[in-house]
């Protein structure tokens, strides 16, 4: 078969580090998303609980997922830029 490089192979060490960071952040977010869906599907009563400022867990966890996405994206941008990235 054609042996053109696949993205995960033959990268300089700095790129591999960035790739690993991306995967770690990705897995972290997937865990949160799956956890949220699990709560909605398996334990919906818990979502009516109002832990902070009278706002329920359904709203807080939804807003939390949105804020988490933004924070992880910013971490990736700040920690993951290498010299190679500026090559087209």
């Amino acid at each position: 078969m054609d042996e053109m490089p696949v993205e995960s192979r033959q990268k300089p060490p700095a790129r591999q580090k960035v790739h690993r960071l991306g995967m770690v952040l990705f897995v972290a977010y997937v865990a949160m998303y799956v956890g949220f869906m699990g709560l909605v599907l398996a334990w919906p009563e818990a979502l009516s609980w109002r832990p902070v400022a009278g706002v329920n867990l359904a709203i807080l966890s939804g807003l939390g997922l949105i804020v988490a996405a933004i924070i992880l994206a910013v971490i990736f941008m700040l920690a993951g830029t290498t010299e190679d990235d500026h090559a087209a």
């Binding site: 053109m4 696949v6 995967m23 990705f26 909605v40 009278g54 329920n56 933004i70 994206a73």
Partner: protein, 573 residues
């Protein structure tokens, strides 16, 4: 409801749309080579591209559809926001950089970079077209809904107006203008909705004391097509009343005064809210739709289950339907052709990543605002009971006419922007992938651009027809279908080409074909389509739940792996 055009609103709307379109033309006046037309010369600054991502993505579904779903059903509309944003995480961490390295103009370039196969180009071009068309339908429906109250024109005119304007933009200008339209629209959408949310919090919540507002309302369409309201002909003075209000606030207050972002939610949770449901009956006098009020605890509206009925009643099919939609939203974003082509408009990988982060921040911020817009529309006695897609503009109208015109104009440019992006993606698929790479036409730069423009006109016409046919659907619901098809057809191939060395071209062709056909077939056989499109009872449908992603996305992966493993020897040979 009948809506009369206001002169102020029309003037503001026309001036706004004309200036956005004019400005984008001026900025995009030098984009006429193929690289310029399809990829904006790869020189769009990353911040502009990031906001343009938001502009592409915050379509009629996000703005009109989600607001409407929250306004009519509560929390479940917000689930769409969560899923839509989560998809960007896949785009940023998994897809963004490899696709920037591999492609040139279109998504097919990236998938085909390892193989140079006409078969791959063909199936990917077809899937791009199918996804683009499914995504175009809700945009056009949204446009039609928007035009009715603003200009007093029928739904079909709104669809035709958007279709014609967008086709004209795409044909005359290409990706540079499209990018600038998206940038302007994305910025305005976030800023103006931010202002509107500040006004919502400043106004707080108030009880509606008019008992007459809570009487049932009946809309009858006679066999002759006449519309009656409570038995009398519908006129501007005798029409359906706006709905959605608060019947009781905590502490017996009549109004709260200004509230903070969290106290707004907490107060609503303790309030009693009047939402409206409908039942439809048909007899020899016509079809009667009765809208009736239902008083509910605010807390019941702020948890899942209002729209996804299966979550409330706990049926397995309902839960699977919900899980399937959330999976499709998660996987779909990174497989949408009009999002993927935007990676080719920036100059390098760092810019691709930075623009994705800007996009995520703008989109995430907007979805938080949408929650407040939807909840405020639910409680401000401003909703049209016949359509959920008009919640956001009618909420603006409850403040003043100018804000209504501005919000409608932004919503209209939202549709313009998204539709132009989709038509760009579709025309690229036809000219670059189908004609040049599959059919082997030798097109010079000029001809390639001309073929793309002809394709854009045809796509624009198809979109207009479908926008008129699907007018009774919520736009977010329709976008859910597009995500399902994109995720099932494109994501398995994209991920495996990038990360699994044993992928073969036969595997890619099979995965795209099976994913696309299976998800499309599932949708056409689902209960939702039976009820809303064919007018047949949903119970007779042939699939157990309506959203296909949970079955068809894994099916795409399994197909790719199986076919690739079976064709290893042939690939080596």
């Amino acid at each position: 409801m009948l809506h009369e055009a206001s002169v102020t609103a029309v003037i503001i709307f026309a001036a706004f749309v004309a200036s956005v379109v004019g400005f984008s033309f001026w900025l995009g006046r030098r984009g006429q080579s193929a690289t310029g037309y399809y990829a904006a010369h790869g020189q769009v600054p990353w911040f502009v591209n990031g906001i343009a991502f938001a502009g592409d993505y915050l379509s009629a579904a996000s703005f009109l559809g989600i607001c409407g779903l929250i306004a009519f059903n509560g929390y479940d509309g917000f689930l769409y926001s969560i899923g839509f944003l989560a998809g960007w995480i896949v785009a940023l961490f998994v897809i963004a950089e490899p696709i920037k390295s591999l492609g040139k103009f279109t998504f097919a370039d990236a998938l085909d970079a390892r193989f140079n196969s006409r078969g791959i180009k063909l199936v990917v071009a077809i899937s791009t077209l199918v996804v683009s068309i499914f995504y175009l339908i809700p945009q056009m429906v949204g446009a039609g809904d928007l035009i009715t109250p603003l200009l007093g024109l029928p739904h079909a005119w709104g669809v035709i107006l958007v279709g014609a304007t967008v086709t004209w933009i795409v044909v005359t200008a290409g990706m540079v203008s499209t990018t600038w339209v998206q940038f302007i629209k994305g910025s305005l959408l976030v800023v103006v909705c931010g202002v509107l949310v500040v006004m919502i919090l400043g106004r707080g919540l108030a009880v509606n004391t008019e008992q007459a507002d809570l009487a049932e309302q009946v809309r009858t369409v006679t066999p002759d097509g006449d519309v009656l309201i409570d038995g009398q002909p519908q006129t501007a003075d005798h029409d359906l009343r706006p709905v959605g209000s608060i019947s009781e606030l905590p502490g017996g207050k009549a109004r709260t005064g200004p509230l903070g972002p969290l106290s707004y939610l907490a107060t609503l949770e303790d309030a009693k809210v009047v939402t409206w449901s409908k039942r439809v009956e048909t007899d020899e006098a016509g079809t009667h739709t009765t809208y009736y009020p239902v008083e509910r605890r605010g807390g019941d509206l702020l948890v899942p289950g209002g729209y996804f009925k299966g979550l409330g009643d706990g049926t397995l099919a309902g839960k699977l339907n919900f899980a399937s939609l959330m999976l499709a939203l998660f996987c779909g974003t990174a497989s949408l052709p009009h999002i993927l082509i935007r990676y080719y408009t920036v100059k390098d990988k760092a810019s691709a990543r930075k623009s994705t982060v800007v996009g995520i921040a703008a989109i995430g911020g907007f979805y938080v605002l949408t929650l407040y817009l939807g909840l405020s529309a639910m409680t401000s006695n401003c909703l049209d009971p016949t359509t959920s897609n008009m919640a956001a503009p009618l909420l603006a109208k409850s403040f003043n006419e100018t804000l209504f015109a501005v919000i409608s104009a932004i919503a209209f440019t939202t549709v313009l922007g998204t539709v132009s992006g989709l038509i760009m993606a579709g025309s690229g698929a036809v000219a670059h992938d189908l004609l040049e790479n599959v059919c082997g036409w030798e097109l010079d730069d000029h001809e390639k651009v001309r073929c793309g423009k002809v394709a854009a006109v045809v796509l624009g016409l198809i979109a207009m027809v479908l926008g008129i046919l699907f007018r009774n659907f919520n736009v977010s619901f329709l976008v859910g279908w597009a995500f399902n098809i994109a995720a099932s057809a494109n994501l398995p191939a994209l991920v495996m080409v990038l990360f699994w060395p044993k992928t073969t071209k036969q595997g890619v062709i099979a995965a795209v074909t099976v994913g696309m056909v299976a998800s499309l077939g599932w949708i056409l056989l689902s209960a939702d389509t039976f009820e809303k499109v064919y007018g047949i009872a949903g119970e007779t449908s042939l699939v157990p739940f309506s959203q296909p992603g949970l079955v068809t996305i894994p099916l795409g992966f399994i197909t790719l792996v199986a076919v690739s493993l079976m064709t290893q020897r042939r690939a080596v040979a």
